[in-house]
């Protein structure tokens, strides 16, 4: 029984990758793949210390770049998407909200990912700063460890509203619960995401195959459906 090819993917890719993988598996049933989701930062340090991952899809292109420089990559860093951030709330329809509405006192707690290490959190902070809201809101912010955790803080109702990844709120179960407000991407630096094939997978045909599969039209349309902007569009 051959070892499946193992992909470590940032948690914002959780839903989209599941769909892509489903297609890949039916197209290439002889190439088994195992998907692990988590925070990009953790995967980066684990790969540095010998983690058996064949591909690494990061939420921030900086991580795979660092790995490449340290010689952990087989080949180049490939940018695959640009992420977007949205305002989302579990209790009300956030499509009605704008960034400046967050100043309203009824939002006692606003969840963002931790800007210190989570790329989505960093962009959320940029956006809040750019709209001059950071000082007002800072004391009401709570921080998720990664973007999926940030989503949970909002889902539990403990934070009335949050700034999270568009790719996550496009999940059908969330779309059912009402809308979201897309934050203008002019307010923050682009969230360019990239992946690498790790050194251990240099001779792994499945890894190559999956890397190529990311460029397939079917895949690209799924990515788009989850709100990602693709690099060359």
């Amino acid at each position: 029984d051959p070892q499946p090819t193992r992909i470590a993917a940032a948690s914002d890719l959780r839903f989209v990758m599941d769909e892509i993988l489903e297609n890949f598996a039916s197209d290439h049933p002889e190439h088994p793949i195992e998907m692990l989701y988590g925070s990009s930062g953790r995967f980066r340090s684990q790969i540095e210390h010998g983690a058996p991952f064949d591909l690494f899809f990061s939420a921030d292109i900086a991580y795979p770049r660092a790995l490449e420089q340290a010689g952990h990559a087989a080949g180049e860093v490939i940018p695959y998407a640009e992420g977007r951030i949205v305002i989302w709330s579990d209790g009300l329809d956030a499509s009605e909200l704008t960034l400046s509405d967050l100043a309203d006192e009824r939002f006692r707690r606003i969840a963002i990912a931790n800007p210190r290490h989570a790329p989505y959190g960093d962009r959320a902070r940029e956006a809040l700063r750019a709209s001059g809201l950071w000082e007002t809101l800072e004391r009401r912010l709570v921080f998720g460890e990664n973007i999926a955790h940030t989503l949970q803080l909002v889902q539990s109702g403990a934070a009335e509203v949050g700034i999270i990844a568009l790719s996550l709120v496009r999940h059908p179960s969330i779309l059912d619960q009402g809308g979201y407000h897309l934050i203008d991407d002019a307010l923050h630096a682009p969230l360019t995401q990239g992946f690498i094939i790790t050194r251990r997978a240099a001779d792994n045909p499945t890894a190559r195959l999956f890397a190529d599969y990311m460029g397939a039209a079917e895949t690209r349309s799924i990515m788009r459906a989850y709100g990602f902007q693709l690099p060359d569009e």
Binding site: G41, N114, H117, V142, G144, E145, S156, A158, A159
Partner: protein, 232 residues
């Protein structure tokens, strides 16, 4: 303001951590004393169920416990919701919430050593004290606590040390608010994830050294005032 390679926010986190550990350990000791006593002495069948329940918080990953607690203590949960209806604030992202969370998770570390100590002590010293006019409270202070000192110490050390390092529960229900709920463990982890390894190492080292010095002092004091043993 950086000192010993540790930024101001981290100093605050450290301070918060020790406050949290101290408060939850103290509260736990007080609450668990009667429970452990009851467990040590009851003959009732229900005892084994309670004993098993006490250990259960350990069984789930702390992040998951934290998640369920977040729901429970948040505005829509049974506890948080009730508080909101009473005009108070819910407990998610509050220091009180952290205290509750770390208490639940450290419960077994306090109950079990105490229960063992009480069982090992037996009833004899209490009987003797009673014949010498000591009432229940008096017996607790003058006999039970000194004689179960080793168990109390273990309970306190395990609970305290464990709260210092607690991460999952605190992360979930704390929200990492600097100065309020961002404890050292979360700060260290943030540094690691953010690849600020120097800060992570410094803060880890400081936490370890402080805890180590505290523990050595406690154990040394304990040894100094130790009963020499029972034999001969």
């Amino acid at each position: 303001m950086t000192w010993l390679g540790i930024g101001e926010a981290d100093w605050i986190a450290l301070q918060l951590t020790f406050r949290l550990a101290l408060i939850s350990t103290a509260l736990l000791l007080v609450l668990c004393l009667p429970l452990a006593w009851w467990l040590a002495h009851t003959q009732r069948r229900i005892k084994v169920v309670i004993e098993a329940l006490v250990a259960l918080p350990l069984v789930l990953p702390p992040t998951v416990i934290g998640f369920y607690l977040l729901i429970l203590l948040g505005p829509r949960g049974a506890v948080g919701g009730t508080l909101e209806r009473l005009g108070a604030n819910h407990l998610a992202f509050t220091f009180t919430g952290l205290v509750i969370g770390s208490m639940i998770y450290s419960l077994p570390f306090v109950v079990q050593p105490l229960q063992n100590a009480f069982q090992a002590m037996g009833r004899r010293p209490l009987e003797v004290a009673a014949t010498l006019r000591a009432g229940p409270w008096d017996r607790l202070v003058s006999v039970v606590l000194p004689l179960s000192r080793q168990g109390l110490l273990t309970a306190a050390v395990l609970s305290f040390a464990h709260t210092l390092g607690e991460f999952g529960v605190l992360l979930m229900i704390g929200g990492g608010i600097p100065g309020q709920t961002q404890v050292a463990s979360i700060a260290i982890y943030s540094h690691v994830e953010g690849m600020d390894y120097a800060s992570a190492h410094h803060l880890s080292l400081l936490l370890i050294v402080t805890a180590f010095v505290m523990l050595v002092c406690i154990y040394a004091l304990n040894k100094r005032f130790k009963i020499v043993g029972v034999a001969p």
